[in-house]
Subunit: 445 residues, 4 copies
């Protein structure tokens, strides 16, 4: 969870944001009391203060983020600006709210009426995807926030960034909003780089989408709260199944390739799971102190158990296997859910001679495709508003970050600093330990 340290620490311009040019047009957005963002006020990467014995606070890290929000002066002439929106990767609650707010803000607040959606993700920027641009306006985005999914559709992978930039130039797109995960934002970074090299003034602004909540400098990503809420419901159901049978075991597989936030938070929110397995905390199956022994103990004592497992957990168990990759370039994970399902059943059959009734529950698509809850509705609104403001002000090559309660501008390049993960020594994992009663470590000795 903590950003990478190292020698860059004292670089003042670590989070420097690129501008397409001087912003010298008055902002048509009518802010009550006219409180536009003051560019000299920034939120530090490390806001905490170390108070020494003589109580002089020491600033240990000078890096600070630019705050997102409406600027007094903007770069683009709204009536003459063409904007486009693309959404990529897996579904996530809130995409439609982001799309809608972008359109509403650009249209009503800035007076920009030339807004387009690109169908089916980056694949819609292929040369041959001719019909992939659809006009967006307040009428056709009305009410879409109440539906899950993405009205634009999505896809995995992308054509060459060179091709995508050509397509954007051909369509005279000046602002591109990229809704997507780390792969998408890497693509956006390359689009930004290529367009700069070509001297084409393109504002590329990313809205990070990661249901796993694992992108750097984005403490909370949109859709994540809703995902936790539905995952918690699934855990409650799993509990009912488990207690319904002698030695009943429910195994709930949740999203989380490298970061187990959904599994951990849903475990705490639901309060019924007995084991929570996440990628950040390796565990053993066999041997003293391993999961199977703990599980056997639990069954003996309470006659049922609920296990929550993030999809990327326990990859240490497959260390010798070959790796393969999907269309978005992500490592294909071994299926820990199916593996546990079979291993557990087999273990109890062979060691205790009992057939444990194990129910395997994988609610992933039901979670991804759900409409955003009200917290995410609010959050998507703010994120999309921030993205619109950044783009109109001529910022480019940035994603909207979230840091200590503030929306920020994060240069694309910085998103690669680290992956946000659960700290095994932090409070979320501590809460998991508390609520499950599982041992802090399940590594066999």
């Amino acid at each position: 969870m903590s950003p990478a340290g190292g020698p860059q620490k004292d670089i003042k311009d670590y989070f420097q944001v690129y501008s397409l040019g001087e912003a010298n047009l008055p902002n048509p957005v009518d802010i009550p009391n006219g409180q536009y963002i003051d560019p000299s006020v920034r939120i530090p990467l490390d806001p905490f203060r170390k108070i020494s014995s003589h109580k002089h606070p020491i600033i240990q890290d000078k890096r600070t983020f630019e705050l997102a929000g409406p600027r007094q002066l903007i770069y683009f002439q709204p009536e003459q600006t063409r904007a486009a929106i693309v959404s990529c990767g897996g579904l996530c609650p809130g995409i439609n709210t982001v799309i809608r707010t972008l359109v509403m803000q650009l249209h009503y607040r800035y007076g920009c009426r030339d807004i387009w959606g690109i169908r089916y993700g980056y694949q819609g920027l292929r040369h041959e995807a001719e019909d992939s641009f659809v006009r967006l306006n307040p009428e056709n985005v009305s009410g879409i926030q109440d539906a899950g999914g993405s009205i634009l559709g999505s896809s995995r992978g992308h054509p060459s960034c060179e091709e995508m930039v050509e397509r954007l130039i051909k369509h005279e797109v000046q602002i591109l909003f990229t809704i997507g995960g780390d792969g998408t934002q890497r693509g956006a970074e390359e689009i930004f780089d290529i367009s700069r090299k070509k001297g084409y003034k393109l504002s590329v602004v990313g809205i990070p989408k990661t249901i796993d909540n694992d992108i750097a400098y984005v403490r909370k990503s949109f859709g994540y709260e809703t995902a936790v809420s539905i995952a918690a419901e699934a855990i409650r159901s799993a509990h009912n199944e488990a207690v319904g049978y002698r030695n009943g075991i429910s195994l709930v597989k949740l999203m989380g390739r490298h970061s187990g936030y959904i599994a951990a938070s849903a475990t705490v929110a639901a309060g019924h799971a007995n084991f929570c397995l996440v990628p950040e905390v390796p565990f053993s199956l066999y041997g003293r102190g391993g999961l199977l022994e703990q599980l056997a103990k639990r069954l003996e004592e309470r006659k049922h158990a609920v296990i929550v497992v993030a999809e990327g957990a326990g990859q240490n168990l497959f260390e010798d296997n070959q790796r393969s990759y999907d269309d978005s370039g992500n490592v294909k994970l071994e299926n820990i859910g199916e593996y546990l399902r079979h291993t557990i059943v087999e273990y109890f059959k062979s060691t205790c001679g009992i057939n444990v009734p194990l129910k395997y529950i994988d609610p992933s698509y039901l979670i991804r495709s759900a409409p955003a809850g009200s917290g995410d509705q609010l959050f998507c609104n703010k994120l999309a508003g921030a993205a619109a403001h950044a783009a109109m002000a001529g910022k480019s090559g940035i994603a909207i970050g979230y840091w200590h309660g503030c929306l920020t501008h994060v240069p694309f390049v910085r998103l690669r600093d680290y992956r946000q993960m659960i700290s095994p020594g932090g409070s979320l994992w501590f809460n998991v330990i508390e609520i499950t009663g599982q041992p802090a470590q399940m590594l066999a000795t």
Copy 2:
């Protein structure tokens, strides 16, 4: 959906209910206006009237059901009667409401205070399951109706009925309520038969539990409405996933081993599915008019498709395979969901060279373990009330049926007459055809 015909048609005592003896004790249940059930009023198996040209109604089937409800005179002395409740088989929304209402009715209305729950289904009636009887009272069933699952737990399979009867006699149980499906009620029938042969006065009253809604003479089973409601939500999510990708396909597998009611009703209720496959309507995969051709057509026209499949659909596709059986004695079905998932992906890859993004969604356990919705709360209340009245009146060997809006007494033996299934010529299937737009037949020519 229509009961078996045949020569028994004119047997007046077709649905004759067995009584343990004369009911001659006044019913302590204080009915407002004292309207106890009039035993001479019955609901016909076939209530419709054929009006000939000269308008004289003809009764074509003389069979009628006894109506369930409180009787003026009862058989058991409530203060001296011991009742037990057992729930078996898969979970289903509403089991806890049935348990709670049984306890509340017996306790408060009849004054029977000697009520027991048997843990983990019929397995709790094994000789060695010594701790399997738990006392039930208004305090420990308070609020359980709000939770899914079964507070008593359940199991599949059972010890010999001989053993179960011995156990019941040993514990001096006089009334046994059996909450379960057709297997459970076959067991209940045998318990009833054995106890009769032994001359032991045991009232056995079944509350049919079948999330598939497939038991004879039970038009609507408890939990079914709730199941449809949650299944419909899953279809809505599946729709979001499908439209989210070019050629996106969502495949939702729902319960329904021999009867596709949940799949069909959820399809109509959700209104987003394009194909609904049920056991009652065989279909082909390949060839002209088969599912795959229809699916390809749909993708070409609309770029996405949602398929709902009942777990027992398409068993004709596996005709040559060997059959195996589970612990409850049910035929193990071939996994049509997994089969379609692979076949569809393979088909589009080999015939069109495209990778269709297929999302496979199986919400079964999330449905089974959900708490009952309000419609089922009401219905479980009535069912359990009817069961309590029947037992106290000394009826035995019956399940509570539901026919043309009335709760009835159905002798166990009759439950084997037929299995309730969707009529391919009836209105539910017609609604499915209408709302999906799928062809009435998908058998390849």
Copy 3:
């Protein structure tokens, strides 16, 4: 709950349906297996059979209903027929589903493409309401079933029926679907009568809408199930408020002007209310055995109480007051909710000297405007399908009824036979008594 008796009993044509003319066009609706409705099969008003001692069933009431559904031959030429839909009165979950299904059926099944919605109820049929006709087609009704309310809007009251008929003739409307309550269907009856007198061939088919579930020959009206479900949630919340304070009282006011179905069913479904007050069962406030005494007893024993009151309950308490009427011609009821709220607080202050913390909860609009639950989605689908079939077959002057599980055709004139009400001697009220523990009678002696 039981229809009016009397001398008409033996009239064979009691529920005779009017036809605009001979139906001699083939039905384009492709029914699987071709099972169109057989007009000679009818469902009896009284399907029960009285079995005398010698077991010969006696038919006591010869009246039977025509069954709704698709006919082999139809009257209107679909391609040349203009249909219109109007929704009147208060909102109710499911109106949009009814509208959508009517449009989908007429368009896709019958090939009728000339379908109109009338804005804001009967008021849209005023001469001066010029823009009140809006074209309806599958595109603009797509997805509306997921939203509450009515896309057409509604209104109370209406212009003269003469004026409405003129307007319909001027617009060459041949089929009119009227979604509304008893007032609306009385209007529809008059429209039917006038158009007949004028010799104008107009099919008028009503879809009864009554959240109170109080229309004759309609055992369950659409939206009612959803209403009960939301009302039950409100009772659960009310329970939390009540137990949260010493002597806490929650008073939940629900819909039900003359029939307390929502209050009674929600009470049973929620299982937390201690008193349920409905119009059908008068009660006293003061005196021995009156509500206040019972309430005081409950507070003394349990320290909290939840009261559910239907809006039309306790009108006996206002007997001497003058009556006034609303725009739809309904009697304005005295506000029993507000009255109880003040009376209860005052009673405990004056008799016991305590300030009871009373929370008054009126969720009516939240209930009326909710989207239909899945049970109602299914039911609305069937109702609207039945209405479309009836109209295309040339039936007129009828509403779609629901009797012993079957959809029927009920002549408008018959809707005035009686008002459906809870029978104080029947099973629903018995369930209320059981679950609340309230006395069967609370009339002071």
Copy 4:
């Protein structure tokens, strides 16, 4: 929203926390990796940095908060410590989760087994409230997090703090957790002061409960998110009612006595309201630019309108009225909801001669009594954990605050610094303006 400024600004010990004595017992809480809170790391009141032209960050406010969390050393010997929990004031989603987590943490993590709940708030600390202490343990708090309300009950007002301290001393309570709003925490402050003066070692730790989200230094209070979520649902329903009638107006009254957070956030989350009225932004009814004129304009253009009003909005309209106070000492507000309801109807009748169908919706109790959503489940868990850690470490006289994403210790006295309110120049209000389209100001000129 911004804390009070003034001369104290440079006081280093502004948020100094009181300790009962030296914490020198090892903490039995087994933190994974042993990362106890480092007392020298603090979160600043103002974490932002002003970057001048030469880019040297300036710290403008030296005040910092102590961070909440587990300490390496604790003060109380857990096995010999008696803790008590009291909840006061109005209900709020999450109270039961706070209670449960306190019990679970104290019991399982610290080994403290002597935990009591006080029934019905501070009233349970009256001398005569003899039975008001109930034992709490993991068994009787199991599952309570799934229910709304408070298992301990609540009350308004309190006996003298002197009396409450006597009662606590008599019962040998060493730790008191006070769940409640500003009135409750003022009482807690006085209990803390009196016990100190008496030399009685009592740890008093407050968990701020304010559904209005208006307590100083508590950026987000528990239950608030859930409240917004349910309020947003009510706005969606209100929208259906409004569009359902020509000139339909829905008026939704929400909680918010002095701070309009629920109204504003629910407005943004729901996205259907046209006017949002909060206490922080005064408005006029009559005259050019006043609400009524704006509303008339809206009706003319769109034929319907949804108004959301916080209960404390528009108090400027009642300026000349006398004030009165409730049992908790809060000013009784004028009923703006009822006032608007009548004024709006009257206005349109008198100025335009039309009867606007206005629906008044007050979901307050349905919101307050709801169970916590998953976000609040997580948050309550953290809050209660923090409170338990603080108390065991011997901290006293503090509430748990929430500042820039961190849980903090806030001395009771500081809670009186300011009331948290919406800034009319900040981003939340800006979002409201954007989504409603209402003018930034509605003060008549």
